[in-house]
């Protein structure tokens, strides 16, 4: 399935990029995120608890970042395995462009689902993933609005490390597809 979207964020591009690379901010923005762990320079694992209707489920998803071009864009790929439920695999490209005072964040997600997930179909997964993405950006904009002037740029090594540490909303839009899809499986099983 394919999803595309745009969000206008009332903050300068560099501030958005930095926030996207701030693990604390991201953790607060991702609905139900408990932790994410860096497993290499460009790979992460996150644990998220999602509620869909009455069902509360905990998932683990793995994400890899590529084509990092600060503060413009990067790609991410994520995969979630759900055992009997099937699998979900997603890729996304997120791009930040300056838009007057603010920043336009656009994303293109391409996710493949298999097994029971695929059987459930886009009609359930698409709107649920959209809802999750909206929740993410709602919180993100809220938090970013509260942030004061951007912190000074840290030393180069730190910056590099920080940059790869961030999981963009893109990641989480795609990740949301994966995670939500897994959650839905349990719901509809």
């Amino acid at each position: 399935m394919n999803m595309t979207g745009e969000y206008r964020i009332a903050a300068p591009r560099q501030a958005v990029w930095d926030a996207l690379n701030d693990p604390d901010i991201l953790k607060r923005c991702i609905p139900g995120c408990e932790e994410f762990v860096k497993t290499s320079d460009t790979t992460y694992e996150a644990t998220v608890t999602t509620r869909i209707g009455p069902v509360k489920t905990r998932f683990t998803g793995a994400v890899t970042l590529t084509d990092i071009d600060p503060p413009n864009s990067y790609r991410m790929n994520g995969e979630g395995k759900g055992g009997a439920a099937g699998f979900a695999r997603g890729g996304a490209k997120v791009t930040l462009t300056e838009d007057g005072e603010g920043t336009l964040l656009s994303y293109e997600v391409e996710a493949k689902v298999g097994g029971k997930l695929a059987q459930l179909g886009g009609r359930i997964i698409d709107p649920a993933a959209k809802k999750l993405a909206n929740e993410f950006f709602g919180r993100f904009t809220e938090i970013l609005g509260a942030v004061e002037a951007p912190a000074p740029v840290p030393v180069a090594e730190e910056a590099a490390e920080k940059r790869v540490l961030g999981l963009s909303p893109l990641v989480w839009a795609a990740g949301a597809v994966i995670i939500l899809a897994l959650g839905l499986l349990f719901y509809f099983n």
Binding site: G82, G83, A84, A85, G86, F87, K112, V113, G114, G115, K116, L117, A118, Q119, L120, G121, R123, I124, F188, N189
Partner: protein, 790 residues
């Protein structure tokens, strides 16, 4: 007697229990100490199984056992078989790749069985299945019927190079080519017969149970043919010898062919019951049914009709690619070949016909028979070709059919495609249908619709089918592994009521009523004193099952044969009782009489005498009144009919409204017109489903089933169909004692062509592939520019 005898619209005896929730289906059965099976299925269409780790799952609460590929084989339990392997045009058998119960090194479709978890509860089995780690190495999948034979298509089985299962033909190719060479006009058509998912209302289920005391097994299962399941599970799967295996198929909530095959789940449940020492139960959930029941249809066809200037058919040629799915199901290769190719004459005198069918493997669920099984596909090709030819040549579609109908005095009629039609009066059927549909008044209705902004169209379908399958000799000659007779046992009980054991199992068709009518009519006992028993290999003598509209023609005929034996023996007993000679005894309406006298004895009294033989010719006659019969049909039966459908299409939305449906069918002698009408209603509704709504779609790259729930796979509902007008023409079948032909599949065979003919007539296009969804219809209208000016 008349109100319950042959020809009476007797209310169905079984409906009381069905309508009051007292039916007893497989899932209603629970055995003491039973555990639950859950099948872990492949999420990939094609992948190598590099390893399965069940350690964590085995330690999950409630888990009793977990089995994976190789476990059944270690116990000598073999894989699933194909029981109908055809010989193709090169003289080679169709390729039958091995099909293990649980995948061994490769998974071949989404839904393929990877492991079975058996646990104390279903929830525990499912939880444990979540913990099984399967190391899949994904491989490219071969998806799409038309693409399967491409040289670069991923290979499904090494046993079938190029994904070709068979390349079969029937008819005279040279004569057909010659007919085309001299044709005045040739009509060509490319079409897809859409793949369908059967969706019986009752999902499949099985309970296997082992009794160590008698060292025997019982399998409760949703099967159309319990005896056949027993033969296969004993002889091929080697779970237990036939005399140590009982198969019970209780009430069945619809099958349509999907419960004919023997499936992995059933065999695993019965095999595992001995291993775990407890009954093992499995019931499919609806999502599972979408993947794990055999699918139907799925043909890609190129067809041509050659005509003379006056519209007479000279020749018909069809080349079809038929999708077998990933493995061969129980009768898979017979469905798109013999059950399909033999029907291309339709109701017409087309002198030269050639049909070529290539069966192909793809990485999708196995495809097998579904209501009509091959015959709807044939009728669709023929009736679409005829319709388009009529339009192209400017001949009325009724007239072109009439010019080509097999005349009533031509029977028995040898077609160019093997079969000999036994009887029929196709012109009478057509006339009656035209009258009931007020065909003459169509133009006025069309103009009236136009004033309302609607496009109105009318379409015919003159279908034929070969039913009552089949003479065993013929079955054997075309590769069917078993005989196709049916058995019956008619037992008078000492108190005068009758128990009939039939091998024709019911899936809801009303056998308990129709068969009881025959017995009541013939033996002269009240219908409430007749009980029909089916679906249990320990109670019923033997059975080849219910499919191909064969129950009444074959199973019913076996009952008649058994009753003839009962009456013959009864005459001997009556002769003794009445102190006359056997030759003077006549039987009528439940009474044995001596011709020309007032001496008589009722059949109930004869039955009593047979079981309490105090005054009985024991020296020359055994006691008891209980007779068996086997009936092997002399030919197929050939029900035929004409369906006329009238639609109104909304050009703004593409929505098709079926405004009238006339079905005139020749089923031979009708035993219960109410049941037969119900069968027509159900069959047509399934055909409407295929033509308008249903279509199984796979992702063309990954092979994922995209129409895997009722959100994406649309079943017909009551408001999709009109109130049907059903009429009958009875030309009795000359070769069975009841004169019946069979009615179960007719509606599904006739309907798609009638409906697509009507829609294309309304919107002015040659062809639309099914399902004709509003979007497809709307686009076709835009393309054709046939929308009325706003």
């Amino acid at each position: 007697m008349a109100e319950t005898g042959i020809g009476a619209a007797v209310r169905r005896k079984e409906d009381y229990r069905f309508l009051t929730g007292r039916g007893r289906y497989t899932d209603d059965i629970s055995r003491p100490g039973q555990v639950y099976a859950y099948f872990l299925r492949s999420p990939h269409a094609h992948a190598t199984l590099n390893g399965i780790n069940t350690d964590a799952a085995r330690n999950s609460p409630g888990v009793v056992a977990i089995y994976t590929g190789g476990d059944p084989e270690a116990d000598g339990v073999g894989g699933l078989i194909c029981g109908w392997v055809i010989t193709d045009k090169s003289g080679e058998k169709a390729k039958v790749p091995p099909r293990p119960l649980l995948a061994r090194d490769t998974v071949h479709y989404v839904g393929d069985h990877v492991a079975v978890v058996i646990a104390e509860t279903l929830a525990q089995a499912k939880d444990a299945a979540e913990l099984i780690e399967v190391d899949y190495e994904e491989l490219a999948a071969c998806i799409g019927t038309a693409k399967a034979l491409d040289p670069d298509a991923p290979l499904v089985h090494a046993e079938a190079p190029g994904n070709l299962c068979f390349d079969w033909e029937v008819g005279d190719e040279a004569a057909t080519d010659a007919a085309f060479a001299k044709a005045h006009h040739v009509t060509k058509l490319s079409l897809v017969n859409n793949r369908l998912i059967p969706n019986a209302i009752e999902p499949r289920a099985a309970i296997g149970e082992y009794d160590p005391g008698s060292d025997s097994f019982t399998l409760y299962v949703t099967s159309q043919n319990p005896h056949v399941a027993r033969i296969i599970i004993s002889a091929f799967h080697n779970v237990a010898p036939e005399h140590k295996l009982r198969v019970v198929a209780p009430d069945i909530g619809g099958a349509f062919g999907s419960k004919l095959p023997v499936y992995a789940e059933e065999v695993v449940c019965v095999w595992a019951s001995k291993k775990v020492g407890r009954p093992v139960k499995w019931t499919a959930d609806r999502s599972e049914s979408f993947l794990a029941d055999v699918h139907g249809r799925d043909h890609v066809t190129e067809a041509e009709l050659a005509l003379e200037e006056n519209g007479k058919f000279l020749g018909l040629r069809a080349h079809t690619i038929a999708n077998m799915g990933a493995y061969l199901s129980t009768i898979a290769t017979g469905t798109p070949t013999w059950l399909h190719g033999l029907l291309f004459a339709g109701q017409y005198t087309t002198p030269a016909i050639y049909v070529n069918v290539k069966g192909v493997f793809t990485h999708t669920s196995p495809v097998d028979l579904y209501r009509g099984a091959g015959r709807p596909e044939a009728t669709f090709v023929v009736e679409r070709l005829v319709e388009i030819a009529a339009r192209e040549m400017g001949i009325d579609p009724v007239e072109i059919r009439r010019r080509n109908l097999i005349p009533p005095d031509a029977f028995p009629y040898q077609t160019p495609v093997v079969v000999t039609y036994d009887s029929g009066d196709y012109a009478a059927v057509l006339d009656k249908a035209l009258e009931m549909a007020d065909y003459a008044g169509f133009e006025a209705r069309q103009q009236q619709a136009e004033r309302r902004g609607k496009l109105r169209g009318i379409g015919l379908s003159n279908y034929i089918e070969a039913c009552g399958i089949a003479p065993s000799k013929v079955a054997g000659a075309i590769g069917f592994a078993l005989g196709l007779w049916e058995s019956a046992q008619v037992r008078f009980n000492p108190t005068g009521n009758v128990t009939v054991f039939t091998g024709s199992h019911s899936q809801g068709q009303g056998h308990e009523t129709a068969f009881a009518q025959i017995v009541s009519d013939r033996l002269g006992v009240p219908i409430e004193n007749v009980e029909i028993v089916h679906g249990d290999t320990d109670r019923v003598l033997f059975g080849m099952g219910t499919y191909g509209s064969r129950s009444l023609a074959v199973g019913g005929s076996a009952i008649v044969k058994a009753m003839d034996k009962v009456i013959a023996k009864g005459k001997k007993i009556a002769a003794h009782t009445l102190e006359s000679s056997e030759g003077d005894v006549e039987f009528e309406a439940g009474t044995f009489k001596i011709a020309g006298t007032d001496k008589s004895v009722s059949i109930a009294d004869v039955a009593f005498a047979a079981y309490v033989p105090h005054n009985y010719p024991l020296e020359k006659l055994e006691p008891g009144l209980d007779e068996n019969a086997f009936y092997d049909p002399g030919n197929f039966t050939f029900p035929a009919g004409c369906h006329i459908c009238e639609v109104e299409v909304d050009p703004e939305t593409g929505v098709v409204d079926i405004v009238n449906w006339v079905a005139v069918d020749d089923f031979g002698k009708v035993i219960n017109p109410m049941i037969v009408e119900g069968q027509v209603h159900g069959g047509v509704t399934q055909g409407v489903g295929q033509a308008l709504l249903e279509g199984c779609v796979h992702d063309q790259d990954t092979g994922q089933l995209l129409t895997g729930s009722y959100m994406d796979y649309t079943m017909p509902r009551a408001d999709d169909v009109p109130s049907f007008k059903v009429g009958f023409i009875e030309t009795p079948c000359p070769h069975n004692p009841l004169g019946v032909k069979g009615c179960g599949e007719a509606g599904a065979i006739a309907a798609p062509a009638a409906l697509i003919n009507a829609i294309t007539d309304a919107i002015g296009v040659d062809h639309l592939d099914m399902p004709a969804t509003p979007e497809k219809v709307w686009r076709a209208i835009q393309q054709a520019g046939t929308a009325p000016a706003a």
